[in-house]
């Protein structure tokens, strides 16, 4: 069944990019429909590949941008894990775009949002199908950047801007760690190909930098997937419009860290540090998310914290050793994406149609919004893990995996139990409390939204029900392949809805019971949790703020110290560094060298004009005279060049000196610079010290250069090859325009850039320099 053409893998990406380009020129609503179509096309493409991927060995791959000189293998590859993610990204993406076109139909920036969502989708697809750490990293960072712009959609609001920056700094900082980690891993494995790295796991583990590499990769994944203590950026990112939150910050982007941990799990899965870090951080994150979710009333923030919990659970499951935990992880991943995206979209509907998304202010909406209520109940039942929903299947297998975890199974299962009960409570909060019970007044008259907004929640929640009824099929076609990729060896765990009366079933029942109790007491529990101010005053979020404020203060301090605005001060620092650096190097090398006898040509001293010019410049009282005296030094130097057989250099030196004197003189006449020296005696003495130090340092350096043995090979080679290869007798010119032409090209480019900079600085963009101006 491996008749799959590798370039099929490029179709969804290309479709997404083309749609993004076209959508940029359409109005927002049409763009959203087009984007939905492109995402749907991608979804169908990936669906068509399911059978091929399940049977193919090895998985189909397309190497499309290999850079052999940099050792970059480049390319895409589709295995079970990638396919599961790709299906979620395109499927949920299509529904979210359809939803967004309606949800934000009055927003003039809808067009921009759609384009960014499409770019994000392509980046996600690239990241999860990349078979190369460089490709993966580029797409990974692109998702962070897309997320930045999407969170800052309402950029007039300072809160949105702050949240966007926070998300970017946290995930971007982690991205830097990830880059370092991936580079180390690639060096250790000798390849950047992910399949190659997994195959070379012995080499990676044996490398001296194995542990730092692993820690850096973990750090990058933890920031992206909002693991403790980096979880705080995720709830704040809820400043984004709801479709963005549903897509990026619950179903896809935040799972990228989980994806990479799963992808690289075959390398480190037997490492105790890997297992420990993932297990305990995941557990801590899950618990943190559960506690914080119970003290929020804003629906989106509640959902965000439950997403943190889910991400923690996924990381925990990857860290657990038993084979079962891989299947548990991918099952829970699928389940969570389905119900969480549905619930986010429902929260958006509630916000849109009732004007409020405060969980404590909504109630009894079932009658007014029957379809929304149906979708919410279906999704919430899956979240709570009730049969016959796929959430139940997932919860059972997650409990099984936790109980099989060995030494720490008790602690893991106990905390997992409490966390799951909290999730049951939140699920009840989002469905029972809001849609049933007494009707509460809302700012707007509630009613069901149009079909395009209902389609997402209904389809996602409905699939949760279907998958729960036939878990074996989903498991066989979608999940076994993914679990195989996580473990690095074939695995087949038949998923079943009904396991019989087992201890796990009892645990499930107890979870639901405790959850319902929490739900009943929520109105009393929530305000108490809110009053515990330690969460606000000592959380990592506050740490981030302190660090950011400190960074800004430090930057301001250094700027004040370094950019003080005194030209003389700048010159003094520059010249002192220039003087001290060579002296320090010379002294570190073992003292000042003296050239051998005869290496110094006494004729060089014949040009007293240089010395006279220098003295005159130093003593001159008027700036004008100093410029003239310096010109004298320059001409003297040119004479030295001429005498020692460098007519080209001499010619250039003469011309430069002429230009310099003319320009300086002209500028001095016109600019309001005081003609005479205003420095005090002390300042003059200090400047003299700097000048003498610099002169001495350069002289010492030149002595050292003359003392070193001269290797004439290069000069001789250029001399011999200049005419046959470059057809020119002027070696200097042949080197400039032929042998080292690329360098010269770079230099004239720098010249031109400097010219543009001077024009911009001195004249401003408003008055370009052109004839007649």
């Amino acid at each position: 069944m491996s008749a799959l053409h590798p370039f099929l893998l490029l179709i969804p990406l290309a479709a997404g990019l083309v749609a993004a380009c076209v959508a940029a020129r359409l109005d927002g609503r049409r763009g959203a429909v087009l984007g939905c179509g492109a995402a749907g096309l991608g979804f169908v493409c990936y669906l068509a590949m399911i059978a091929a991927v399940a049977g193919a060995e090895p998985p189909p791959a397309a190497a499309f941008w290999a850079v052999p000189s940099l050792g970059i293998a480049g390319g895409l590859r589709l295995d079970g894990l990638s396919l599961l993610f790709a299906l979620l990204i395109t499927g949920i993406g299509a529904l979210v775009l359809l939803y967004a076109g309606r949800y934000l139909k009055a927003d003039p920036r809808l067009n921009r949002l759609v384009v960014l969502l499409m770019v994000f989708m392509v980046a996600m697809l690239g990241a999860v199908t990349a078979d190369d750490v460089v490709t993966l990293f580029v797409f990974w960072e692109l998702t962070s950047i897309a997320s930045f712009f999407l969170v800052a959609h309402d950029h007039e609001k300072p809160g949105a801007r702050r949240a966007a920056l926070q998300a970017l700094l946290v995930t971007g900082g982690g991205g830097l760690a990830l880059l370092a980690g991936l580079v180390l891993v690639a060096i250790a494995a000798g390849t950047t190909s992910i399949s190659g790295i997994v195959a070379a796991r012995e080499a990676v583990l044996a490398h001296p930098a194995a542990v730092p590499a692993m820690l850096l990769v973990i750090l990058g994944c933890f920031t992206k997937s909002a693991q403790f203590p980096f979880h705080f950026w995720l709830p704040n990112a809820m400043a984004a419009p709801t479709p963005v939150s549903a897509y990026l910050h619950s179903a896809t982007m935040v799972k990228l860290g989980v994806y990479l941990l799963a992808r690289l799990n075959p390398v480190w899965q037997e490492d105790a540090l890997w297992q420990g870090l993932l297990t305990w951080t995941g557990l801590l994150t899950a618990a943190t998310g559960a506690v914080l979710a119970l003290r929020e009333t804003d629906l989106k923030r509640v959902l965000a914290y439950t997403t943190v919990t889910a991400l923690g659970t996924l990381v925990l499951l990857i860290g657990l050793a038993p084979e079962l935990s891989a299947t548990a992880a991918v099952t829970f991943l699928l389940v969570h994406a389905l119900y969480k995206a549905a619930l986010f979209l429902i929260a958006g509907i509630l916000d849109h149609e009732t004007g409020s998304r405060d969980a404590s202010a909504l109630g009894g909406l079932r009658g007014a919004m029957p379809w929304t209520a149906t979708a919410a109940v279906l999704a919430a039942l899956s979240m709570a893990g009730l049969p016959p929903f796929v959430g139940f299947v997932a919860k059972e297998i997650v409990y099984e995996a936790k109980l099989a975890a060995g030494g720490a199974a008790g602690v893991v299962a106990a905390i997992g139990f409490a966390v799951n009960a909290a999730m049951v409570a939140v699920a009840g909060l989002l469905s029972l409390r809001i849609f049933f019970g007494a009707r509460r007044p809302t700012p707007a008259v509630p009613h069901d939204p149009p079909k395009s907004m209902l389609a997402g929640p209904i389809l996602l929640a409905g699939f949760g029900l279907l998958a729960g009824i036939a878990p074996g099929l989903v498991g066989h076609w979608m999940l076994d392949g993914a679990a195989t990729a996580i473990l690095g060896r074939p695995v087949e765990v038949p998923l079943k809805l009904w396991h019989g009366f087992t201890p796990v079933l009892a645990l499930s029942a107890a979870t639901i019971g405790l959850g319902l109790l929490i739900l009943l007491g929520w109105e009393r529990l929530m305000p108490r949790l809110r009053r515990v101010s330690t969460f606000d005053s000592h959380g990592p979020s506050r740490g981030y703020e302190h660090a950011l404020a400190g960074l800004v203060a430090w930057a301001e301090g250094t700027t004040r110290a370094v950019q003080h605005g005194s030209l003389r001060g700048y010159m003094r620092v520059l010249l002192l560094v220039l003087a001290i650096a060579p002296l320090a190097v010379l002294l570190a090398r073992g003292g000042l060298d003296r050239p051998a006898e005869g290496a110094l040509d006494p004729r060089a001293f014949a040009f007293g004009v240089i010395v006279l010019g220098a003295i005159a410049a130093a003593l001159a009282r008027s700036t004008f005279a100093a410029v003239m005296a310096l010109g004298l030094v320059g001409f003297g130097t040119a004479l030295v060049f001429l005498m020692f057989g460098a007519p080209d250099v001499a010619l250039t030196q003469f011309t430069v000196e002429v230009l310099l004197v003319v320009i300086l003189a002209t500028v001095l006449i016109r600019l309001p610079i005081r003609g005479t020296d205003t420095r005090t005696r002390g300042q003059r003495a200090g400047d003299a010290g700097v000048a003498l130090l610099l002169g001495g340092s350069v002289a010492a350096l030149l002595m050292a250069v003359l003392a070193a043995p001269f290797d004439p090979r290069l000069g001789a080679w250029f001399g011999e090859t200049s005419v046959p290869a470059g057809h020119g007798r002027n070696v200097v010119n042949v080197i400039l325009v032929d042998f080292r032409a690329l360098d010269t090209l770079g230099e004239i480019a720098v010249l031109a850039i400097a010219a543009f900079a001077v024009i911009a600085l001195l004249r401003g963009a408003a008055r370009p320099l052109r004839p007649g101006n």
Partner: protein
């Protein structure tokens, strides 16, 4: 600024003599001291003299195009001169090509000269841009 009468009268001389010298330096640069860089400096000196004596507007008119365009054309010539290298697939970018048409004697023509002209124009553009920007707008 009021330039002296002598300066104003001799301005064309101060422009065209350096220009001619610079062209000579440019062309002979491949075999004798000279080349695009020095040539560009000499030509710039001429233009700067002209700007001082006749005013910046006159100098800009003499240049026909704004200095930034001189830079741009120069860079394009430099970049473009390397493209012909790809006639020979094994040669690297900026490997210059030469022809020796026989017109009584063998006249060497090469893309190296195009490259050097690029350097020449860029240097002129850069220096005149900087000096004119420094001198300010006041027209004499």
């Amino acid at each position: 600024m009021d330039a002296s009468l002598i300066l104003r009268v001799s301005a064309p001389l101060l422009l065209w003599v350096p220009m001619a010298v610079s062209a000579y330096l440019l062309v002979r640069g491949h075999n004798e001291p000279g080349g695009g860089f020095v040539g560009g400096l000499v030509a710039s000196a001429g233009l700067v003299f002209y700007a001082i004596s006749r005013g910046q507007g006159a100098a800009l008119r003499a240049m026909r195009l704004p200095p930034a365009s001189w830079c741009g054309i120069g860079l394009l010539l430099g970049l473009g001169s390397g493209l012909l290298a790809w006639i020979d697939p094994s040669a690297g970018y900026l490997t210059h090509r030469w022809w020796f048409p026989d017109i009584g004697f063998k006249l060497p023509i090469g893309t190296a000269l195009v490259f050097d002209i690029g350097v020449y124009l860029t240097v002129i553009g850069t220096i005149t841009a900087m000096v004119f920007a420094l001198l300010g707008e006041e027209a004499a």
